[in-house]
């Protein structure tokens, strides 16, 4: 009788353990799937950047450094393979594009260019979708992190290689830029 009770308890524990483990796997997979949505938008942004750079080059040739930064950030972002790497490199690309956008305010000719306007519109559309996909991804990440860090999930997580994962936020560079007041030039350009 006592043996049966012990066996029963062991079975219950293993069922409980399995369901907890499966929950962690499910949440981790959901986070990865959510990243696929982001990836679609990121790839479209990669396709758009060269066109944007080419268009800007014709009007603002002495912004070479800025354009180089954007191109390099794009190359780095395209080379990234893991989610963590992608998050970091894409943050840099976002920051570089933001910088370009601010600088372009100084070129009225460029701002009148139809092609440039269309590219800008496409880019802002992609950025909006990116923001939406990021919201979903970060929600999934929060849920996963909570499961990994709270008791009793943390017992299993520690032993089976589940760990806290990164959020996809704007990145420090971009956030700092957004906090700065915009520079206004009243004198001659």
């Amino acid at each position: 009788m006592a043996l049966l009770i012990v066996i029963g308890i062991l079975v219950l524990i293993s069922i409980w353990f399995t369901s907890l483990y499966n929950k962690l796997v499910r949440l981790r997979n959901r986070r990865q799937n959510a990243f696929a949505d982001i990836d679609v938008q990121l790839r479209q942004r990669h396709d758009l950047v060269p066109q944007l750079v080419d268009t800007v080059k014709g009007y603002a040739s002495h912004e070479k450094e800025l354009l180089l930064r954007v191109t390099e950030a794009r190359t780095a972002a395209m080379a990234a393979t893991t989610i963590d790497d992608k998050i970091k490199t894409e943050q840099q690309l976002t920051a570089a594009l933001q910088g370009l956008k601010v600088q372009m305010e100084a070129y009225p000719d460029l701002k009148a260019n139809q092609n440039f306007l269309q590219l800008q519109e496409e880019l802002s559309d992609i950025e909006n979708k990116l923001a939406a996909a990021r919201r979903f991804f970060n929600g999934a990440t929060t849920e996963y992190n909570n499961a990994v860090e709270s008791f009793p999930g943390n017992l299993i997580a520690r032993n089976f290689g589940f760990q806290r994962e990164l959020f996809f936020d704007l990145g420090e560079d971009t956030r700092r830029r957004m906090d700065e007041p915009p520079k206004i030039n009243f004198g001659n350009p």
Binding site: A34, D37, D125, N128, K129, A131, A132, F136
Partner: protein, 310 residues
Amino acid sequence: MQYIGLASQTRKNNLNSILLLIAFPALLLAMCYAIIFFSSEQDTDQVNKYFLQIIPFVLVGVGIWFLIAWAGHSTFIKLATGAKSLERKENKRVYNLLENICISQGMKMPRLNIIRDDSLNAFASGISDNTYSISLSSGMINKLDDDELEGVLAHELSHIRNRDVRLLIISIIFVGIFSFVAEMAFRSLRFSGRKSSKDSKGSGVIVLIIIAITAVAYLISILLRFGISRNREYLADASASEMTKKPYALASALRKISADPMIEAVESRDVAQLFIDNPKPSVHKSASWDNLFATHPPIEKRIALLEQFA
């Protein structure tokens, strides 16, 4: 964080869908039994025997009706509301708004339809991922700003996500069967009335009984349908503000909608329940009657709640 009660609402909707799927055929069978009982000699054994014989026919009939409705409901609803498909290139703005909310919720994007009508209303319909759709009146698209329109789209999207839409469509399909049977009964009354005295008096009585029973069953089916929680509108409002984080925008959209929700093209009250606000305001002025048959909670209350939420 999800609005409290949303997950349980989804579960309740799924359960209610199944209950409806059981309740409506059962009601139909009960109706058949009553008709047989009153129109024959009321010999229980005879009635039972006859009833057992017709059960398969009734169930197969319901099944066929249901399959046709399941396959064709989106077409029927489009016809009943005068909605047409909206292409992406026709209105990029609406597509972008809807797409962005769907991405942020990780949902598959429903189809978009437009009702060419200057008043403001919208509804969601569909049973499965492939048939879910949101229809907007052109007045809605033209008179609301981006934030307000986003709120309305999120409201409809939460109806889809909470499975409100599927439950409603199922109930509409079944009530359709009863209204069809009721109409047939009335037709047959007129028909037999014309033939008048040639038949025995008995058949006239039987037709009257059939009509009475059908009317009762029809009424029960309608009450069953309206018994479906009207709270779903509040819940959809709440989860829409959860999605967009802009309850004020949805409140101001509702205020604009409440000024002119009449869609002239919508003739059938059967589809009224689908809309964000009732497209056919009730003609009955008595309050209790209105409450029993209201398809929507008062819009002022919804606005007040949303503003509290903000």
